[in-house]
């Protein structure tokens, strides 16, 4: 199974395919190019012209290296961190030299001083960025990131636990078989809640868990709880961090169903949007009613877990209308490889 966090393996090269990494590199390199222009020219026009000229060289090198490093990161990674890093720096210097060669072909004048400046700039900035990612990796080191993930692991509300136990007790005398099934559901649910949840799970696995959870809620709430599913069957093997959907559904029950006497319906969806999976949970919204403080906690917990797993490539949105509350999560679509 793939690891949950894309760059927490010990001292690994940054994942050059990751959007967050790409963005950080683009911003840093362009920032340095601008700073270099500002230092060299006193007037704004001079800075603008110099920066534009600089970009003509910097941008192709930058984009080309990102395009090449993305597929090359796995072979480079196999060489060990030190060798890999040195190779990346040399590779960047080589690309800068190539850029100089191309510019010579255009302008016709071969300025070797410029060649030295290009390669040194490329080497320095590559080393700097690698250093930054190295430190960032350490800051979010496996131990730390794991500790945070463990701490953030979705927790079931005690209220739910004790009410469910009470519901099972109520079944024991009259309907022992239903009580057995309910206890089995609880066992499965708590097994997942207490498990080591750093591994990704499949959408099917998460949905099975949600069904068991909802069976327990149904036991307590009966007719008041209605559920509508809209799951794209092709997404069954899509990979997700575990316990992303369940806390959203728990929230929907707690805020949308429990505060009302009338029955209400929860809509749960999963669909594909290009290269992303969108999960959605909609519940009836009762404005100015019971308990609203717990909601933000659960959502910020999920948001932080998404950030730890996917950096900027995942998002969580909420939408409140007059009559309903909608939460949407988008994560990159990846499928479990067949074993």
């Amino acid at each position: 199974m793939p690891s949950i966090n894309q760059n927490t393996a010990n001292d690994a090269l940054p994942n050059f395919c990751n959007l967050g990494v790409v963005l950080r590199i683009l911003v840093t390199v362009n920032g340095f190019a601008l700073a270099a222009s500002v230092i060299r020219h006193p007037d704004i026009m001079g800075v603008a012209i110099d920066f534009a000229e600089g970009l003509a060289v910097v941008e192709p090198v930058l984009l080309l290296s990102l395009m090449l490093l993305c597929p090359l990161r796995r072979p480079l990674g196999r060489l060990g961190y030190g060798t890999g890093a040195v190779l990346v720096i040399l590779f960047e210097m080589l690309l800068a030299a190539l850029a100089w060669r191309v510019s010579v072909a255009f302008s016709g004048e071969a300025d070797t001083g410029q060649l030295a400046r290009y390669t040194v700039f490329a080497g320095c900035i590559s080393a700097l960025l690698l250093g930054y990612f190295f430190l960032r990796n350490r800051a979010f080191s496996p131990a730390l990131a794991e500790a945070r993930l463990q701490a953030l692991q979705a927790r079931i509300r005690p209220h739910f636990l004790f009410n469910s136990i009470n519901a099972v007790l109520s079944l024991l005398r009259a309907e022992p078989q239903r009580a057995e099934r309910a206890l089995e559901d609880m066992a499965d649910l708590f097994r997942v809640l207490m498990a080591d949840n750093r591994k990704l799970t499949t959408l099917t696995g998460e949905i099975d868990l949600c069904r068991q959870y909802l069976a327990l809620e149904q036991l307590r709430l009966g007719e008041r709880l209605k559920v509508e599913w809209a799951i794209d069957p092709e997404l069954g093997q899509a990979l997700l961090p575990p316990l992303m959907l369940q806390p959203l559904i728990e929230n929907a029950v707690y805020h949308g169903i429990e505060p009302a006497i009338e029955p209400g319906s929860i809509e749960i969806g999963a669909k594909r949007l290009g290269s992303q999976v969108e999960l959605s949970v909609r519940n009836p919204y009762r404005s100015a009613q019971d308990h609203h403080s717990g909601n933000k906690m659960a959502l910020s917990n999920i948001r932080e877990r998404l950030a730890l797993h996917f950096d900027v490539e995942a998002e969580l949105q909420t939408e409140a209308s007059e009559s309903s509350h909608l939460v949407r999560i988008r994560v990159p679509l990846r499928f479990k490889e067949p074993e």
Binding site: N166, L171, L221, G222
Partner: protein
């Protein structure tokens, strides 16, 4: 409480919890003879059912839709002979502490038969719950105001109230349909419903959402003052000069 017959009402929004309570009560029937006269699924059913069944002990869940068990008890406290109440809750650390401080009995779910038996035996000797003690446990704004008439409790949803006006001993509640009188202090109502209502005059609070606009008007002595126009009713209320600065922002543009 009547020594001979304990007439019990079970109030819980979860059917399995009611069934469990019934099973446990039947286990206690030998030691404390009683009769379960009603099972209510929410506060409304409990309040309606009370007049019909004459229950004298309520076993009531705290966490219920629309009206918490504590709010139900606050309304019941206005009765001449309020029933005894034992609260049940699955998990509510904060409330549990407050109950102990205020000597209000409660049962933690899942309830044990022995614990229920002890509570039933104690309930006979307990004084009825006072409004003050209940408010100390839960001072959240009520969803309803209650009017007690000849042993019956009438609920008016706070969401339906257009204004509250103090008149001598009473406060008039005005809804779109009619008026009611309650014996409460306007100052306490103002602090309880600060989120929903605003004071426009020494003697009146209006619901923020009911404010349609304001109009200048002259009184008999020729002094002009502002009046508030309200959604749903034609009646207008004067805004005092003192409250005008805080009230004028409510006018919808």
């Amino acid at each position: 409480m009547n020594q001979s017959a304990v007439r019990i009402m079970i109030v819980d929004d979860e059917a399995p919890a009611r069934r469990r309570m019934r099973d446990l009560l039947s286990d206690c029937a030998g030691a404390v003879p009683h009769q379960v006269v009603l099972e209510a699924a929410n506060g409304h059913e409990a309040i309606r059912g009370l007049a019909e069944t004459d229950a004298n002990l309520l076993l009531m869940d705290i966490h219920m839709p629309e009206m918490s068990g504590i709010e139900v008890a606050r309304h019941l406290a206005g009765l001449e002979h309020p029933p005894a109440v034992i609260f049940t809750t699955a998990f509510d650390e904060y409330a549990v502490k407050a109950f102990e401080v205020n000597a209000i009995d409660y049962l933690l779910k899942p309830v044990r038969a022995e614990r229920l038996l002890a509570a039933l035996q104690k309930a006979k000797a307990m004084p009825p719950l006072s409004r003050e003690a209940l408010e100390r446990v839960d001072n959240e704004a009520r969803r309803f105001l209650s009017i007690t008439e000849r042993g019956r409790i009438l609920l008016v949803a706070v969401a339906d109230i257009i204004f509250l006006r103090a008149e001598l001993k009473y406060v008039t509640i005005r809804t779109k349909e009619r008026e009611y009188l309650i014996e409460e202090s306007l100052t306490r109502l103002e602090s309880e419903f600060a989120a929903q209502m605003v004071r426009i005059h020494r003697n009146a609070l209006v619901a923020r959402r009911a404010v349609k606009g304001f109009e200048r008007s002259a009184d008999e002595e020729g002094d002009s003052h502002w009046e508030v126009l309200l959604n749903g009713i034609d009646e207008r209320l004067p805004v005092s000069r003192r409250q005008w600065p805080t009230v004028k922002g409510l006018a919808k543009t």
